[in-house]
């Protein structure tokens, strides 16, 4: 009994102690050291520390026993710059785990990282962090320390700063992304066109004739009810990526679900413009004729690609890179299938509109208490100068880290992908800022060069040639031929007060009305009622706030 008793007590105590130990850790943030001298260096000796946190993509792999905290990139930074990248914590980023952990760290008063990059999917978190006052103004730092390459890349589109401006102060450094990544072309079955002896449609009328022929006179001999001439879906939104319907409204002068610049210089919500009604009439007509999927209201983006891959769809709207994925699989089902990118058809007035791309993919914030903000610029400047679009004599000409994303065999031959001993890992994700560094126009420039028959010389060009779909350069060329038709969402500011409370309801009645009109459950005139309801149910307030913001950043 005596031993049993003692054991019980010991076990219970241990259990409690162990569980409480997990709750430890707390405030230990040091006050900022005031540094007045010009401290920007190419290499820091003694080394300086940058603290950060990681949301690790679940598909990201590590090799040689490395981790997000300690890997080839952190060692490289230490050797190259004398910068010690110290991780406060890392978390596998599934179901928004990263954002949750940052929020928890923020509310429980834990030490916040010196540098943190927040992706666009967590844009509200970025805004919250800025509003928390824990992160410092970055405008002067950027002006003082950023390299010319970086500044030039940033100036390609002045709007990239807009979401992160507070009272005229730049509070976060936008993470640049490639331009036109979310601009769309139409992918069409060229083999069907050829067999029908038709040419690619350039206007809405021609498009209708082509869809009619695809359906009722199908070159592959498919029965009319098996063919989906135009694969689009409305489940998520009328303004999305694969299977996107927004360009149909674009033909009538508006892009739904985003803020467009009106002729009077104010921002207008696309979904309530008169062009919407014409677009809806057109889509309803197509729906009744069976040109679009019967279940379009239930289909999300990936679903719209299924008939395209199965070989039963004629046209699929989407990004220029789709010949790599998912369309490359079509030939497995229909060996004769040939997809070609074509431009968005123009409407009755000869104009086309497609939704454009904002060239950012998140934001990097710099802590108020960071002792050496200049060290971050040392690191990032190098990335922009050497990695973003490396010249042939760059350290990164062949790839980022030897033995990780490329290797060289004994005869000097470049090894990529599975040929790398121990396998390929996407080590660019180990870098301090997501994707290392991207210059918005670099990718399109490279693609156009390849499309014009240029040889792949730089790493970026080789990368595109080896890893992107075979038709990607051609699609990029099509995309750029229509770049005047690109209309990005002009509102990129923080969610406004009435957006928080009203926008969900407005979106809800919008999708409901549009889908009911297309499915014939409501008359087309219910669009006018919707516009009235939209305005009186908070839409007018939202419009006012959006325009106040727009004026504040475009003084």
């Amino acid at each position: 009994m005596g031993i049993k008793k003692t054991a019980t007590i010991v076990m219970s105590t241990l259990l409690v102690a162990a569980s409480l130990a997990g709750c430890g850790g707390g405030k230990e943030s040091a006050p900022a050291a005031v540094n007045t001298e010009n401290v920007y260096k190419e290499k820091y000796d003694p080394p300086v520390t940058i603290t950060t946190v990681w949301g690790v993509d679940p598909t990201l792999q590590f090799k040689n026993g490395e981790s997000a905290e300690n890997n080839v990139a952190t060692k490289w930074a230490k050797d190259k710059f004398g910068i010690d990248v110290k991780s406060l914590w890392s978390v596998t980023d599934t179901n928004g785990a990263f954002a949750t952990k940052v929020r928890l760290a923020m509310s429980s008063g834990q030490e916040m990282p010196d540098v943190v990059t927040i992706g666009d999917t967590d844009s509200q978190l970025a805004q919250d962090l800025i509003d928390s006052g824990m992160y410092s103004e970055v405008g002067p730092l950027f002006d003082k320390y950023a390299s010319d390459t970086w500044k030039k890349a940033m100036s390609e589109d002045a709007n990239v700063w807009n979401p992160y401006i507070r009272d005229g102060k730049k509070m976060g450094i936008p993470v640049l992304d490639y331009a036109y990544n979310h601009d769309y072309v139409l992918w069409i079955r060229q083999d069907w066109l050829t067999k029908l002896n038709m040419k690619a449609p350039t206007t809405m009328d021609e498009l209708e004739k082509v869809m009619e022929a695809f359906k009722n006179n199908n070159p592959d001999g498919l029965a009319p009810d098996k063919v989906i001439p135009l694969s689009i879906g409305f489940k998520s939104s009328m303004n999305t990526w694969m299977g996107d319907p927004s360009w149909i409204f674009g033909a009538y002068g508006t892009i739904p679900q985003q803020w467009n610049l009106g002729s009077d210089g104010t921002l207008q919500y696309g979904s309530i413009q008169p062009g919407m009604k014409e677009g809806l009439v057109k889509i309803k007509e197509w729906f009744d004729k069976g040109y679009i999927p019967k279940e379009a209201a239930l289909w999300d983006e990936n679903k719209t690609s299924e008939p395209a891959v199965a070989g039963t769809a004629g046209i699929l709207p989407g990004p220029y890179w789709m010949s790599g994925w998912p369309l490359q699989d079509t030939v497995k089902n229909v060996p004769s299938a040939v997809w070609k990118p074509i431009t968005i058809p123009v409407g009755p007035n000869g104009k086309a509109m497609r939704h454009g791309t904002t060239t950012t993919n998140g934001v990097t914030l710099i802590n108020k208490n960071m002792k050496h903000p200049e060290a971050f610029f040392t690191y990032q400047n190098y990335m922009f100068d050497q990695l973003a679009n490396p010249s042939a004599n760059s350290e990164f000409d062949k790839g980022l880290f030897k033995g990780y994303d490329y290797d060289v065999d004994s005869s000097g031959k470049l090894l990529t992908g599975e040929n790398i001993p121990g396998g390929y890992v996407n080590s660019v994700r180990y870098l301090l800022v997501r994707d290392g560094a991207r210059i918005p126009n670099a990718q399109m420039d490279a693609l156009i060069k390849l499309a014009d028959g240029g040889k792949a010389e730089t790493r970026l060009e080789r990368d595109i040639q080896n890893n992107y779909g075979p038709l990607t350069p051609e699609a990029a060329k099509v995309l750029m031929s229509q770049k005047d038709s690109s209309y990005p969402n002009m509102f990129t500011g923080p969610t406004t007060q009435s957006m928080k409370t009203k926008m969900d309801y407005l979106n809800k009645i919008e999708s409901q009305t549009f889908n009911e009109i297309i499915y014939g459950k409501s008359p087309i005139d219910s669009f006018d009622t919707f516009v009235q309801t939209w305005k009186t149910s908070g839409g007018d307030e939202v419009t006012k706030e959006v325009n106040d913001w727009y004026k504040s950043v475009h003084k």
Binding site: T8, L15, R103, D128, K294
Partner: protein, 296 residues
Amino acid sequence: MKTLRKTWPFHVMLLPSMIFLLIFSYVPMAGIVMAFQDYKPWLGFTGSEWVGLANFRYLFERQDSIQVIWNTLVIAVLKLIFNLFVPFIFAILLNEIRRVKLQRTIQTLVYLPHFLSWVILGGILIDLLATDGFANRILSTFGVQPIFFLGDNDWFRFTVIASDVWKEFGYNTIIFLATLAGINPSLYEAAEMDGATRLKQTLYVTIPSMIPMVAVVGTLALGNVLNAGFDQIFNLYNPLVYAKGDIIDTFVYRTAILNGEMGFGTAIGLFKSVISMVLILLSYRLAYKWANYRIF
């Protein structure tokens, strides 16, 4: 005091769970204050602005909030009823099968869908229930016009409830089968002696013996009466059926979670908890009164 000297090791053994309960269930209750605040994580409970009942007012101010609450109640109550009676009847029928192997096989088969996630089932159902999908092709052989199960306001709730019952009834069936196995065989023997038929035995022995378990399962399920099943609805609904399919949880997901509006999310959570607690207390009373059964 004397007993304590003898039993204190048990109290020590109980201690860890009590501490856990305190830390993970009682301390977080303080978070309820968020429901009355415009909560900002970096300001904390003490610094966030008090907004009184504004979060609750917003819930009821939306033009569609009554509709959303009504949808939730209708879907949840119907699910509750069918998830109670379908397994109840199924268990009694299954129990009549005398071949143990067959019984076990059926039991396992109906239990299997319980382990599938709605994300996967959602994709499967969208294909199966399409207007030219499997279900409609079978119906068309009987001359039925194609039904738009997931896009028609008249059919959406039916589809949701039927698919949920199909997925979940195996779980309660197991509970009821266990109850059936626990009925004293001498009751049946006595009934047989009195000349009761199989049907009479079921009506007067089996069913009365199962009522307490039905009360337990039903009462526990009532706590979920405002949970109409987020995973399921979120994967199946679409703009065409917002009028009949949008529920509190999908609404909270879009407004509170996606926007990081913690105060509003907490307010709705509190609202749901209070209603659920009232219902649980009520059903506890009813179960005691009618079935003479105390759960706690």
